[in-house]
Symmetry: C2
Subunit: 419 residues, 2 copies
């Protein structure tokens, strides 16, 4: 393996961690440029003097560097620069999940055409090597299902609600103070971050080029600490789960990001704090699960540097052509057959359970259990109902009818129960 | 990616599964030859007519096939044929853990020198893509520790003893009837199979070229169903664990394969039947765990075919040079500081506990708990003692002294307790 020269495009948390890791451990990787807007304020003294600092991307793109590491994030200008780098014959290593989720097909096709690598281990699950494991290690199999806890921020919040019995707002504030959540936590809480990762994993695992607009997201904002107590009585807890499953007969991909009840003895329940977990099901390889640090500068830097080593060891496009040559799914749906957990926040009056049960019965939906403790506050009493697997269309209609009943004092919650 | 031609060397369970998987799913991989001794009895009708069946390895090695898949196992003639294939400019995909464990450095150096791949995902943990994940996905990190349940046969036996309360002999017979264990189960029970896998993982994960003779193995044959009951009272169960840990200060690799007490809430306890689990600890990526099907023709075939796809996508040596350029460790030791679980099978008399406690105290070894139920049979009464972390040399001496005491009616058991 001869040495590889590369430029860092972006010198934030991940960029700095990459530079530190390379300089301390990897003698075959040679950092030539550090690009950042307003680069002077980024300058540090521990980078060798021969590294060129620049705020002009052309310095990087016209340099002889073998590869660029794109860690600025966002769709543009990242997309344009990755394109120009590939066109200039450079390999690209990126941590940019949104870019891959939105423009993966075009960029991977370009990489394959130029016979240059476009690697993105860092775009999904930080230091947990899921791209290598799923996209290469299990490449020989046909995977039917991918499900995971892919967003460390949401998971930190939910596991804090679970362990400390606090509300979502309090857990969110804690996460923000610790630097795990941003000032605007929308992308994490509402599932957009996990959705982008799910799109990337669907491409490399299911051979389905799902785009973010094809994946429905449900926010975790409606989950209360009382929901955790109810879930526990059902032998479950609550996680933000991202899942995609091929239904070959119906020619549809069932996919969704949002809160789900997961069994206490499952890998999903045991993922705590900012960990990630991923489970895949293969026709020949069965169930495979991976767990590890899904975020953080150091863990993500490991993924970037591992990709740089792969580029150094294979100067071609690697799996880019295979990743590019996947189909867009005919259709997607977030309608899962269940079972489901429903929770209504009600004003207590005689007959509420009977009313709800009636609507469900009319739609041929089987109730498995009802949890109703008339120990509520003025903010309302939770009424929790678990239902057996059912026709998702019927459930949707039933929920609309139930919403029209007169007892609601807060928004309802409907989340799937994972097997 | 242009198509890749390959020959199958060996048409047993894995070889047949590879052929089936390739023929049914992978249009870019072209099977050209099937080699087997006495090939006629192996012939099947579902292989296309243009595939050449042969019992002469020279037909394969002098053919224009791009790659060979070596699934005959054993050190020779597999080693000679892999060498000749690489020298003939062919890539090699192998499932042969013993070959890699014993001759990995030489073969990988040859592959790197000829700029041809030598890939071996199938050699460790069947369908669980640990080689890709550890050797490539975490290549950027410095890993300090690897520990896993790597032998499905032992794990089937131990988890059956645990769940059914049966003895080892009965569980072994069951495993043999189900085809999970061979007529001679020595390699599985005594740790030789897991040891070879640990050697391969140490090379690609710890950058330590440990050979099998440097890893001490303890058999699981001494574990009784009563030991499982005692372990459970300690919040543990028993697994065959393979582990290797760098001690950078002492410049030694601590490594061992053998039974260990593992906490009931750990990933090790949750690996059941023929599953495998692997945990690695990285300086930057933290703890990463993987679990999946570690054996079986289909799962192993996925690993082989994934490697063939990698060869098709990178006609060079891939990571072979990096894997070849690792050091042999200065020293290895199986002396783990503990804690430890000791079990003696005793003839009950007054003072046994006092005698054992005295010997341990003299060697500065702290007892944490004593489990002694005088409800034994004529075969003896188990006396179980857990001890705190201690100087492994002192423990060794204490065990020699205790062995000289007069109450033993069966062999003792001493196994480490995993954190």
């Amino acid at each position: 393996m001869r040495g590889l020269t590369f430029a860092l495009v972006g010198f934030g948390t991940v960029g700095r961690a990459v530079a530190r890791l390379v300089l301390s451990t990897h003698a075959t990787l040679h950092l030539t440029h550090i690009f950042n807007r307003d680069v002077e304020r980024k300058r540090v003294d521990w980078v060798p003097g021969d590294v060129q600092w620049t705020a002009d991307i052309d310095d990087v793109l016209t340099s002889p560097a073998d590869a660029i590491v794109e860690v600025i994030g966002g769709l543009e200008p990242a997309g344009a620069w990755v394109t120009r780098a590939l066109e200039a014959g450079k390999a690209v290593v990126t941590a940019n999940k949104q870019l891959l989720a939105h423009h993966g097909s075009d960029l991977l096709r370009l990489a394959a055409a130029r016979n240059r690598a476009l690697r993105f281990e860092a775009a999904v699950c930080g230091g947990l090597p899921v791209v290598r494991a799923i996209g290469e290690g299990l490449a020989g199999d046909r995977l039917g299902r991918i499900a995971g806890v892919l967003n460390g921020t949401s998971n930190y919040i939910l596991t804090r609600m679970e362990s400390a019995g606090i509300g979502l707002d309090e857990a969110l504030q804690e996460a923000q103070e610790l630097g795990y959540a941003e000032a605007d936590p929308t992308d994490d809480l509402d599932g957009h971050d996990a959705r982008a990762k799910l799109c990337v994993l669907s491409r490399i695992g299911l051979q389905q080029a799902i785009t973010p607009d094809q994946v429905a997201c449900a926010t975790i904002r409606g989950v209360t600490s009382h929901d955790f107590a109810t879930a526990r009585r059902l032998g479950c807890t609550i996680r933000q789960v991202a899942e995609a499953e091929q239904d070959v007969n119906a020619r549809v991909v069932r996919c969704r990001v949002g809160p789900a009840l997961v069994p206490l003895d499952s890998a999903f329940s045991r993922v705590v704090g900012t960990q990630n977990v991923l489970q895949v099901t293969g026709e020949f390889s069965g169930e495979t699960a991976m767990k590890g640090l899904g975020a953080g500068g150091d863990a993500t830097a490991v993924a970037v540097v591992s990709d740089l080593l792969a580029v150094a060891e294979d100067r071609g496009a690697g799996p880019a052509a295979r990743y590019a040559a996947v189909d867009a799914p005919l259709a997607t749906t977030d309608r899962l057959p269940g079972p489901w957990f429903l929770r209504f926040t009600i004003r207590d009056r005689v007959g509420v359970v009977a009313d709800v049960a009636h609507v469900l019965a009319v739609h041929a939906i089987d109730i498995e259990a009802v949890h109703h403790e008339p120990a509520g506050t003025s903010a309302g009493i939770p009424l929790a109902i678990t239902i057996a697997p059912c026709d998702p269309h019927m459930l949707e209609r039933a929920l609309v009818e139930i919403a029209l009943l007169d007892f609601h004092v807060g928004p309802p919650l409907a989340v799937p129960i994972m097997r």
